[in-house]
């Protein structure tokens, strides 16, 4: 039967056979992670290009337009063309920039979000590193973006960029709180921080956490949108106010890295949402007789959540910076705390001491 786990075992078997042939079996511990990182990078690059295309198509159809349709079938290669264009484009730099931070910021933005992908389980056993503190790791790693954005805004020597950087710092730090708080009930129920463990729990429990934890799901999606600087929370790069915000002065490859980073952040947060609330690689109820591999289910759910985030972007206006703070601190955080308390009370009543 074709499952993600089988494929991984097959590939790793082949690799180890190859190591043995080459006589470098002792280096497997070094080469294996490199290979998985490269595979993950290739996957994420292709997937993000697809997402950019998808966003343009989704927005176009929502607006009664056609969207990209010139390069390749249905315009699928449009983003490839754009990526090539961005790569070979002149890198315009402001003269009075702060050179080192200006150079490092896009790299940090890209790497920090990309590192989140490491613990995402695409299928049972298909994960680069199944950390037992997966959620903690993701939340910690994605927090790096704020440093990148603040550095970019500061070092660009541009007033719009600086404003964007400040806004981003305030926003991401505030929404980090509600993001964490919305995840807490899941951790309380499952008693594990490992993403794979949470999916396994949902499999055994027979329901997905979106049912008992719909409030947490909404808060998580909202906070994740804000974390990824997506509309309606895109105030750091609000183009009608701040031109481009923190990336006003970036062009070429550096801009592409910010751009890529934003989309990877969307992928990571959607993947976490799928894992936590939508049962990860589990098939839809009553459809498991189809024997569709788990990673297909995972990707389907992932695209659904990403579509939702895109629909938000193309439907809603943008919040003002102080209203954004109000919303985060006065609505999301209280509700998620109430949610935690309610979950605790209900689960205590149902299961006594706790789920374990």
């Amino acid at each position: 039967m074709l499952t993600g786990e089988n494929i991984v075992q097959l590939v790793s078997g082949l690799l180890h056979w190859a190591y043995a042939q080459a006589g470098i079996s002792s280096l497997a511990g070094v080469i294996d992670p490199i290979i998985s990182a490269v595979v993950m990078f290739g996957f994420i690059a292709v997937f993000v290009m697809f997402l950019v295309w998808m966003e343009r198509k989704v927005s176009a159809h929502m607006q009664s337009r056609i969207g990209p349709n010139r390069v390749g079938p249905l315009g699928l290669l449009q983003t490839v063309a754009d990526a090539i264009k961005l790569t070979i484009k002149e890198d315009v730099k402001p003269v009075n920039r702060d050179k080192v931070p200006y150079f490092i910021a896009p790299i940090v933005a890209f790497v920090a979000t990309f590192m989140g992908m490491v613990v995402i389980p695409f299928d049972k056993g298909v994960v680069v590193q199944d950390l037992n503190v997966g959620i903690l790791y993701i939340i910690a790693i994605t927090g790096f973006t704020v440093i990148a954005i603040l550095t970019a805004g500061w070092s660009s020597n541009n007033k719009y960029a600086l404003l964007g950087g400040f806004r981003s710092a305030a926003q991401i730090i505030s929404y980090e709180v509600s993001l964490v708080l919305s995840v807490v009930p899941i951790i309380m129920i499952t008693g594990t921080l490992s993403l794979s463990g949470i999916v396994e729990y949902q499999k055994q429990a027979g329901y997905w956490f979106i049912l008992p934890q719909i409030v947490a799901f909404l808060i998580f999606i909202t906070s994740a949108t804000a974390e990824a600087n997506r509309a309606p929370f895109d105030i750091p790069e609000a183009e009608s106010e701040l031109i481009g915000g923190f990336h006003t002065e970036y062009s070429g490859v550096k801009f592409a890295m910010f751009f890529l980073g934003e989309y990877i952040a969307v992928v990571v947060s959607s993947a976490v949402a799928v894992t936590l609330f939508l049962g990860g690689w589990l098939p839809l109820p009553y459809l498991d007789f189809l024997h569709i591999p788990g990673f297909v289910w995972f990707l389907a759910k992932l695209l659904l959540v990403i579509y939702l985030i895109m629909a938000f972007r193309w439907t809603f206006p943008r919040l003002r910076v102080d209203q954004l703070m109000d919303f985060g601190w006065k609505v999301l955080i209280p509700i998620s705390i109430i949610n935690i308390l309610a979950t605790a009370v209900v689960w205590f009543c149902l299961y006594g001491k706790g789920a374990q």
């Binding site: 927005s59 007033k159 404003l163 009608s240 206006p317 919040l319």
Partner: protein
């Protein structure tokens, strides 16, 4: 202006760590200023301390050029005064000239003018709605607005051959009679368009984010609004009855039934709501005008060369899409006007921007600017 910018550079003398004003120069090229308006914004963090509009980047001296053109030739320039609502400015100039020279346009021409001016109001409000939503961050209504606007422009093109600068409403009548299929097509458009307004409202009106951004922002009180010369839908949002169509009826506006849309709060949301309601009223006016459209001549009998009487002058006002549009003409007995003055709604509405944004956030500048429905060529002329 340079002095003003230089004065910001000086450090405060009292403390080594004195704070400076954060001066952001928005425009002339900025996504939210709808053209080449420049705003010098002094900030304290995110809070706006002062907004100084710098005008003149689109000053094309239309008033000076018009002094060297004959009266009919001036109409081609009125198209460019407010290109989003060119029919209204055509009408303003044509009406002023007719009153100056004592010409009376025939009834069919008057009804046609009403149809086209109200269609233009729809087109202008649609574009405004899209731009306003875009300023606030919702990008989709812009496309929806343009989609419907295209159909209006198709109606215009079918009739007069142009989509933006029509030169259609002329002195003493209109340029050309409508085609026989115009009336059914126009009615079909109105039937198609009317339910769309509810869709836009579904996207925006009670959207919580939209409400947050517009409710209570940029409040113009009636007294301040009147005193500062705010006019049109922007003043009607404060509850002041100021519709020229009601107060000083021109064309046949006294013969059609329509409501003057008023809101009381005076904030951005009220101004938005007034314009959305005005679209519905415009549909009703167009329907009534189409009903009353009867065959007849479309232009008055006029001398081949139009000359204004010596020492004659006229100040004639209409309600254009953006508010009160006045044309002041002074005739000197020749075929060319001695003086032309366009009193434009955008110019007087923009005046209050500083007061409305002071103490608010940067993003509110865009909301207020958008809600005032400002068109830069009309400001600068």
């Amino acid at each position: 202006m340079t002095d003003l910018l230089l004065s910001q550079v000086k450090l405060s003398g009292e403390s080594q760590f004195g704070t400076d004003e954060y001066v952001v120069n928005m425009g002339p090229q900025h996504p939210a200023t709808h053209g080449v308006l420049r705003l010098i914004v002094k900030l304290d963090g995110e809070t706006v301390k002062e907004t100084i509009p710098v005008l003149g980047y689109l000053h094309r001296s239309i008033e000076k050029i018009s002094e060297n053109r004959t009266y009919p030739q001036c109409i081609t320039y009125t198209d460019r005064v407010d290109y989003v609502s060119a029919m209204s400015v055509n009408l303003a100039f044509a009406l002023a000239t007719e009153r100056l020279m004592g010409i009376e346009a025939p009834a069919r021409a008057q009804w046609l003018r009403m149809v086209f001016v109200e269609l233009q109001r729809l087109a202008s409000h649609l574009l405004w709605m899209g731009a306003f939503a875009g300023d606030i961050g919702a990008l989709t209504p812009f496309l929806y607005g343009l989609r419907e606007r295209e159909r209006i422009l198709d109606l215009f093109e079918m009739t007069c051959g142009q989509r933006l600068t029509y030169n259609y409403i002329r002195i003493g009548g209109v340029m050309i009679d409508v085609l026989p299929e115009f009336v059914p097509k126009c009615r079909a458009f109105l039937d198609y368009f009317e339910p769309k307004i509810a869709e836009y409202e579904g996207l925006l009106t009670y959207n919580p984010i939209f409400l947050e951004r517009t409710k209570g922002v940029g409040v113009i009180s009636p007294e301040v609004g009147i005193n500062a010369g705010i006019c049109g839908p922007s003043l009607r949002g404060s509850g002041v009855s100021c519709d020229v169509r009601k107060q000083q009826p021109y064309l046949f506006y006294d013969q059609v039934k329509f409501n003057e849309c008023l809101e009381t709060a005076g904030d951005c949301w009220s101004r938005y709501k007034v314009r959305m309601n005005e679209m519905r009223e415009s549909i009703s006016i167009i329907r009534q005008s189409l009903d009353r459209l009867e065959p007849g001549p479309i232009e008055a009998k006029m001398p081949p060369v139009l000359k204004a009487p010596t020492n004659s002058e006229i100040y004639s006002r209409i309600e254009s899409s953006r508010g009160e549009m006045g044309v002041y003409l002074v005739g000197d007995g020749t075929a060319k006007p001695w003086k032309v003055k366009y009193r434009c709604a955008s110019f007087s509405n923009l005046y209050l921007l500083d007061e409305l944004t002071r103490g608010w956030k940067v993003a509110d500048i865009m909301a207020v600017l958008g809600s005032l429905d400002m068109i830069v060529p009309e400001v600068d002329r």
